[in-house]
Symmetry: C2
Subunit: 122 residues, 2 copies
């Protein structure tokens, strides 16, 4: 494949909120994009894996256990370290990029209505 | 640390071309930003590691061995697979994000004037 993918084009085809889509595979990690709107993501952690959030558009409320919540804006990046309880939400649509190990379950060990398997993220 | 970093702010402080700066560490990979202008990067490969390019601003000429060269624009993403000879260049300034394994040497085994150690990328 001698062409690149465009993130905006991929996001145009993402209809569902809280449904990460794998857009690239680099070594042991997946790069994913997702749209967030609402508060459907439960508090969770990834026991053995860090998770990187990068804001492509909109704003995201990042909540981390024992920390003050903070707002992430377009161009902001934050790494949730392994084992740290966290939750993200957004009132309006927020478009994000994620960098996660291939083994990472996107809602950790918490299974809810929004939880997707890796196959569902292809 | 309960705040995120902003990519644009980091890039404002990057003065030198071809000098990747580590902005985040997630599992076994580094996320880096760099500014490219000119043709100083030699043909090289990363024997055991994939390398992801994401264009933040500007355009990048991507050359891959035995493939037609192609232009990457803002929002485009491409993964150079391990062992594949490649070279990137840009006539005007191009701002990129890289995802690389921590072990990746940014110019592969080719050492030139622009080659930076990981310490120089901190």
């Amino acid at each position: 494949m001698n062409s690149s993918i465009n993130i905006a084009s991929v996001l145009e085809n993402v209809q569902q909120y809280f449904s990460p889509k794998i857009i690239a595979e680099v070594n042991d990690v997946y790069v994913k994009v997702a749209k967030i709107k609402g508060e459907d993501i439960p508090w969770h952690n990834h026991k053995n894996e860090d998770e990187l959030f990068y804001i492509l558009d909109g704003t995201l409320l990042m909540e981390i256990e024992n920390e003050e919540p903070f707002i992430m804006k377009k161009g902001d990046m934050y790494v949730v370290k392994q084992g740290v309880e966290h939750r993200v939400s957004s009132i309006k649509e927020c478009q994000i990029m994620l960098i996660e190990n291939k083994t990472t379950a996107h809602t950790g060990e918490v299974i809810t209505e929004i939880t997707k398997t890796i196959n569902q993220q292809q």
